[in-house]
Symmetry: D2
Subunit: 342 residues, 4 copies
């Protein structure tokens, strides 16, 4: 089969011919119908410090996708050939204390598709039965391909009350844009977003926030205070992972409010805990992955009901062979979500 792989510990990736994965007794073989590129894939391609420490070539990478089951292992009982599926890419073990406490999203022995095991930038991918999600046929393939990041946005946004509350989204990469849509769908009374990049601000506008502004031009803290009659935002969703974004997130939060952190800073961040956290009595949530399976139920229900539409965020569609071109567009900050068809 055709696949995109990192063959050597160096920048770049190759389009290769690889054997179709073999299917273990508890596995599904999925024919990939559509895949999408994540920021993580850029790190792997670029071979940055994180990638050098985590990735063991050769590796077919990629983890955002949907497809059709074409083969099932001997012990599989809940899926059959022909099923339309997406996959929870954080493969949990289902047996550790955290999985047994309903926190599989922070499983102690997680193995991530396209990072710790063969990924989806290929015609076929093999996944454990327990990690598969039965997709409603009403979800188009290109949306089915972005449920991993959309699930991040749903998890982050719905980690507390949103309806009738003011929401600030810090950072409008694809997941920040998706979070705007989720907050809107959930009845947020105000959605304000900040983003430095003009292309991304334009993308964000498609999700109908009340305001999107450039924090380089406008003081973010004042802007959110103005938009909330001085009260601050009830809910802050930090999607940038930048130290300045995190500081803004803390400053714009209303006392007693919620700040949910999804963006991953690349190094430690200085926080004025006394002023920004303790005196204000706020709650900070670290958000990882997707609630398994609660997030998936919510996400699919929002999509199928029409309450949420993230199709404006899909800006390009290419055959898998044009992977390199897609990477170039993303690196240049000139794309939202790019769909690849193997």
């Amino acid at each position: 089969m055709t696949a995109v792989a990192k063959l050597t510990p160096a920048p770049g990736a190759d389009v290769i011919e690889a054997p179709v994965p073999s299917v273990g007794p508890g596995d599904l073989l999925v024919r990939v119908k559509a895949a999408s590129i994540c920021g993580t894939d850029l790190h792997i391609h670029k071979w940055d410090q994180w990638a050098r420490g985590r990735i063991k070539p050769p590796l077919v990478f990629g983890h955002e996708f949907c497809g059709e089951v074409v083969e099932t292992g001997a012990s599989v009982t809940t899926f059959k050939s022909g099923d339309y599926v997406s996959v929870e890419t954080h493969v949990f073990d289902a047996t550790c204390d955290l999985c047994r406490l309903g926190r599989a999203h922070v499983c102690r022995n997680v193995s991530i598709i396209g990072i710790d095991r063969q990924g989806c930038f290929a015609e076929y991918v093999c996944v454990p039965e327990r990690s598969a999600w039965r997709l409603d046929v009403q979800v188009p393939q290109e949306i089915g391909a972005v449920l991993d990041p959309l699930g991040n946005a749903v998890h982050t946004t719905l980690a507390g009350d949103v309806t009738g509350r003011s929401v600030a989204v810090i950072g409008c990469g694809p997941i920040g844009c998706m979070a705007i849509g989720v907050a809107r769908a959930a009845g947020a009374s105000l959605v304000v977003a900040t983003e430095l990049n003009e292309y991304r601000r334009e993308l964000a506008r498609a999700m109908r926030p009340d305001h999107v502004f450039n924090p380089a031009e406008l003081d973010a803290v004042e802007a959110v205070r103005d938009a909330t009659d001085g009260a601050g935002a009830d809910v802050v969703l930090e999607m940038s992972g930048h130290s300045s974004g995190i500081t803004q997130a803390l400053k714009v939060a209303k006392p007693g409010g919620r700040i949910s952190l999804l963006g991953l800073p690349s190094k430690p961040v200085e926080i004025d805990l006394s002023i920004d956290v303790i005196f204000k009595g706020v709650t900070i949530q670290g958000i990882n992955g997707r609630r398994i399976w609660e997030t998936w139920y919510q996400m699919q229900a929002l999509l199928v009901s029409g309450a949420l539409d993230v199709s404006p965020l899909i800006t390009h569609r290419f055959p898998l062979s044009r992977f390199s071109h897609a990477i170039d567009l993303l690196t240049a900050g000139r794309a939202g979500k790019i769909i690849l068809y193997p």
Copy 2:
């Protein structure tokens, strides 16, 4: 001033001339701009068993309204003449253990406007400063007049998670219809409503549920199961107060789901607790009034943001003097919310 009063312990009501209420040190005198008629007013008018036990004539009744502050008592500090206000009609004492625990909506010494004290079917009404709510000027007067029932709907609907969940509304009186709108605004993935009365089903449709059906024609439990792929409704809002509605509410709920009861049955109801509550592990919430002031903040935010529009439920507008005609329409089941202008 002109007012509508129950003068004697008998059916009916009179349009009378009454003195403008005198203002105590902690009170506001409010010029009523718009009022609305509640089912409770029908009970008082009809002089049914509940009314006979609770109401002490002479009484100016009515409790749904908004208006303008025209006079303030000596100790009032937070409102001034000219302020546009609505009022939390459950006047709480702010000092009992429940008020101090943040449960003022079940205050031990509640005194209800238009029931236990002079009401709003009049040109002026006197209310304690602590019970007044500053209305945003963007809220039209006729909407400001229905915040008491809308607050019931907001409290009931948002007493648990709604976003991405299926909601069944049992009974489509005005509050049931409002709840449909709130659930929709909050991103419910499915909203199914039941109502026996055709006029009310039509009213309900204006709030955009997925389905409204007549439980006399269609089996409610089966209909909800069908609409939810057999799963049952995540959230059930019981707005009818009828024993059969309550039974339906329990039967259609998904195991582990939430049933919020607002409709007041006039007598005890037989419940199969083992089958419908305990084995299913559901939660039943009794809902009374509005969370003070959380519900009001949410409600106003939903209205001002445009996420919620209940204007289709306002079907008639009359001068206060036509009170009797309004009562006739409501008794005949031929009206949604009726606005009265003093």
Copy 3:
């Protein structure tokens, strides 16, 4: 092996010789070290209406036990021979929507050990790997044998806040007594219990409630109000399943409080929803089984830490062959928990 079985659809039970169960690929064979008799076993023995509708003889019954793994199926990976285990007797399927939403305790396809499948009143019992719980060796066998009912008590009591709150326990069968202990361990500021049977009141006293009284002699509602300075109980745990107990539970609850129902009434109960639920703004929780596995973690932690000691509730210990005598004692209301040793 020796086992206690219902051989025919009629009252009684027989001590028989039965084959050791065969072990499927995902199963564990457990040598039963200690078992205990549940009220459900009395229903099966007596062959009442419920039993006639649910039980299909021949059946080895019994579901409260602990033991040692002596054989593991081919696909078992998380247990091995020699492991000390108890078992979640509600065998969940792990694949239905409710299991996937973290509500395995209300699994749509539950199969209960000793009811729907062969039970533990035997030398050996076969259970699915996923239903087994690794017991801490500090938990004595006779306590390990009562974790099913103790888990009911932990689930019911800890289904909401208890620390610094007043708790009323309605009904002091073994689970009610256990709930007294759990509430005490959790820092309840007051624990009041009601029970008609003198033997059980005595048993209850061993768990150190503040008061235990006989509702036939003292008005339960007044007694709880007196004990709470008129406020009512913050938390009410209904363990009797009697209609009068349920009425008491509703009446003694503080407005805004929590009522958790575990006791199973044998027929529908009349409830004054307006007065006792809606106006008071209380929450009623149906409690079924044990949270899987949250309840088990809490329970084991409470036992191993010494915060909870339920050994006073174990009143008799017999060899399995004296099953019939044990049943007689329980039927006569002259026992707490009886431990059987196969």
Copy 4:
């Protein structure tokens, strides 16, 4: 009356004769029966940077106390002379949006007794009626004098579930020690505490933690992991305010766990948000003051029921005139709570 005051913007304090405060219409005059010294008082005495920026001499300081009402203002209705009271020292305005949302502990216009207004190191102190708490007569005066810090400990500890969970307390100043007691009373299955100062470790042991250790001698993270079988602590209470303590708090928390911050760092702290917060999916709560009045109800209930006893933490008792000696002891780290009698 005799009082302890900061007369000039310089280190130290004076025992002075001051006029008895005059009582406004909504005020209570309280005869101070017992007071206690807070770390904040040390800052004021020492005249450090924080004090220089906040305190406006002349000021009678002190804010931990209980006493007897001896005079009431004209509009006071809920207290009378002779009432035994303690006081919520964060005087909230009851009218800002946060107060109205049930978050009076983060009131936008808070005025703190002994900091922003005259304090309790005096024979009499004047407080608003709405800030007074009716003390149960079973609470001894010396305990009534420490409800401000004890309320901090109750608020922090009970800001999430504790029963059957493992708790790590970082820092064993008086509030840390109190938190140990609260966690124990709430049925924590394990309580581990860390503290550098040997005197404080000894004090902590009086509250019956499972382990207290010196993080200078033992690696805190490893020690907590060892004590929790490698799992980490379910609940972490950060009471030190030191940057190293905060880092420990984050490292020892179990994935998905809770970290509640009460200790106030004097400057920004570097946090590895990716590793310690986001990937672990933990929740961090900033804790300020006491929930008004929920914390007070819980605290008094725990004290009166006997579930909680903090008397071992009261190490010294002096007449108010020996204030200076008390300050010396505290500065030397040779005291727990010191009670002053005016």
